[in-house]
Symmetry: C2
Subunit: 427 residues, 2 copies
């Protein structure tokens, strides 16, 4: 009997009817002869409603109590799902993160998994029951307190359980059919990807593709878990995220048969800050980025202009999440005298386009092809950054939609039919 871990997001269990529908699908998987562990998020908007309540009683809610509050969400959905399954005549037992052995550090709101000891889950499986586990939540052994893994944490719970229990596959159910070559809402000719290597999926997730949480993909890659991203609203095959490096893993996709480019991702969530007139002496860049790091911001791309010989001054630009920009501007302004720069520029009208594909490694012409295609589409490039299997460019935000369609076509990614887009956003 092979073990399948299934994860259902909030939109798949938004109300009693959805829960009953999901329960049927789970029982079908069980009756087909598989052992089944289900990881479930909070119903629909529950998490946002609880956050809203917290904001009403305290402007900055205590992190320990916020975790206690938010974990009520999965408690509700998992208990209801277990009831619905039992009502269909199959044994089911629900487990909190703590009961399922999701041991984390004590970082409330963004805890990291330090151990997974799913003894009770395994016992439930041994008795033939379907185990329902609360996503997103964990337990710290030292403090005895409940923790949460942060947004998208339910995907990570599912992957961690799949790794610990040696599951054949971890199915991530969402409201879209799988991973697409581009966001189908922006690019109508986007195609569903049937198989993608985990390193490519990692770059896509890091570049703005929202269907899978980057942390879950990282965990799956490190522990050799095969993911299957699919819709809970139909029975279509979704996207398999496989680990080519893993011995015995589902890695029969030979690199030579793969397309050079897996997909195009876009990201409108970043802003650009430019530090103007920085003295071009050793140590200045380090000083600036130490200040940025201290303010807690996550830097993405960095560009330093060539110094103008006449003045001995240079400009340094970097991108970061829009939500971090104000803190960084405040920090840098307060240290302006000490650093010795002339001015700060803040630009929140940028967009980032990323081309991802393992085939880039062996194909040197990809950058040139990208820049040419953008030029022909009349899109101006402001910043460039590359990794081994990714090229990202920053453009004006209002050009992103035009750019992604042009690039999708230029790299031969267009499908024959238009992609079907479902409501909702997934999580």
């Amino acid at each position: 009997m092979s073990l399948i871990v299934q994860k259902y997001g909030g939109s798949s269990v938004a109300d009693a009817e959805s829960i009953k529908r999901v329960a049927k699908r789970i029982v079908q998987t069980r009756r087909a002869g598989n052992a089944v562990v289900v990881v479930v998020s909070a119903m629909g908007d529950t998490t946002d409603e609880l956050l809203d309540l917290a904001g009403q009683v305290a402007p900055i809610p205590a992190p320990r109590e916020l975790d206690m509050l938010l974990t009520a969400g999965e408690r509700i959905s998992m208990a209801l799902l277990a009831m619905a399954i039992k009502n269909l005549g199959h044994q089911a037992l629900s487990f909190t993160g703590s009961q399922a052995g999701m041991i984390t550090d004590a970082q409330h709101g963004s805890a990291r998994i330090v151990d997974v000891t799913p003894k009770r889950v395994q016992e439930a499986l041994d008795e033939g029951a379907i185990a329902i586990v609360a996503g997103f939540q964990g337990f710290n052994r030292v403090t005895g307190d409940i923790t949460t893994l942060g947004r998208g944490g339910s995907d990570t719970t599912a992957v961690a359980l799949a790794a610990a229990l040696g599951a054949e596959v971890c199915e991530i159910y969402t409201d879209v059919d799988g991973v697409f070559t581009a966001d189908p809402r922006a690019v109508p000719k986007a195609r569903k990807i049937s198989r993608i290597a985990s390193e490519e999926m990692l770059e896509l997730a890091a570049s703005g593709a929202k269907v899978l949480h980057i942390r879950a993909v990282e965990y799956a890659r490190r522990h050799g878990v095969t993911l299957h991203v699919r819709s809970s609203f139909n029975n279509h095959e979704g996207t398999i995220v496989y680990n080519p490096a893993e011995p015995g893993a589902d890695g029969n996709g030979d690199p030579v048969e793969e397309p050079i480019i897996a997909g195009v991702a876009t990201d409108l969530s970043e802003a650009k800050i430019t530090v103007v007139g920085v003295p071009d002496v050793p140590g200045k860049a380090a000083q600036i980025f130490n200040l940025v790091a201290k303010s807690g911001a996550n830097i993405d791309m960095i560009v330093q202009n060539v110094s103008a010989a006449a003045t001995g001054l240079t400009d340094i630009s970097f991108t970061l999440p829009k939500s971090d920009a104000q803190t960084v501007l405040t920090t840098l302004t307060s240290e302006r005298q000490d650093v010795g720069f002339q001015a700060l520029q803040h630009d929140d009208q940028i967009g980032k386009l990323s081309l991802v594909g393992a085939g880039m490694r062996t194909n040197v012409g990809v950058s040139a092809q990208l820049f040419t295609a953008l030029y022909e589409a009349g899109v101006n490039i402001e910043m460039i950054s590359t990794s081994e299997i990714r090229i990202s460019v920053v453009t004006r935000a209002d050009q992103i939609q035009h750019a992604v369609r042009a690039i999708h076509t230029a790299f031969g990614l267009d499908g024959e039919a238009e992609a079907i887009v479902y409501a909702g956003t997934g999580r």
Copy 2:
């Protein structure tokens, strides 16, 4: 520093504003120099809403999963309350039933407390923090599962913690000013009782007074916990429920100074079943009540008519909760041949009036005075039952309101002003 346990019901924490109001009251108690443990119920109608959701996914929800579901309710209220207190600048930590050491048997939905080990609560107090504990919920050590204590269980949680921690008093906050000589909604001249012995409170609760749950009063009596029932909407002194037998307890109310009658309670929740034409031979009553017990019904009062010598047949009547009547009727009907009775009568239009007072022990005229007063008020008595400190009579349901006012006046319980009645029902 003395320790006070405070329990707030669902109507006291119905929304964010109420939670902030309660938080202020708790912090005041702490700043007055007391250590404070707070037990809290789920917000307003949360429990009913969760029950409704459960009913939508499964007609008969699995008891283990129902407990998992319902305990989300206090998790939300306790976390919000702890946040609100911290926001007022005081340390606060919330604890689930399990974290607070409420160890129970494995009877889901109506678990009994078998041990209370509030180590973490004590540690929080030792650090100067206010401890917030989820009412209603517990933990079974053998199964590792979450349990609930049943309706009104939050009162029991508060009393059990007060006993285990050696609290000076357990304050039960509700939406009325305390315990009254009769339900102020039915008897406008009902007076608030300032002090009442726990055995009297027990009889009042058992006779239909809803302000305190009978199980909590029993626990308080057995463990010598002094209760203070009061309103969370003002600062009036409420009703002290004391334990005269307990050495060193707040028992300075000398019996000779007490009124003979503490209060009058009414109950419209029972039905009467009469088994007609039962052969008057030994063992028949035992046979009937064994059948009733097997069907799980709780019998209250029993009356057996004098046998008619000519027929050798007798009638047996008993009262029981209306919700149990149908099951009992079905069970008895199926055994009619074997028991040999002639017919069953079912009457759900009865009311019960109970007069409670420790002074009855030494005052033999109370029954006579009650029957005379009811006769003068034109109320017909159908059944009578007595304990050492209580007399209960069954009348027609539609005469109960008239009867309770007449009795309240006849026994000199009327206050000078009309009682103030607040909205809501308490819990």
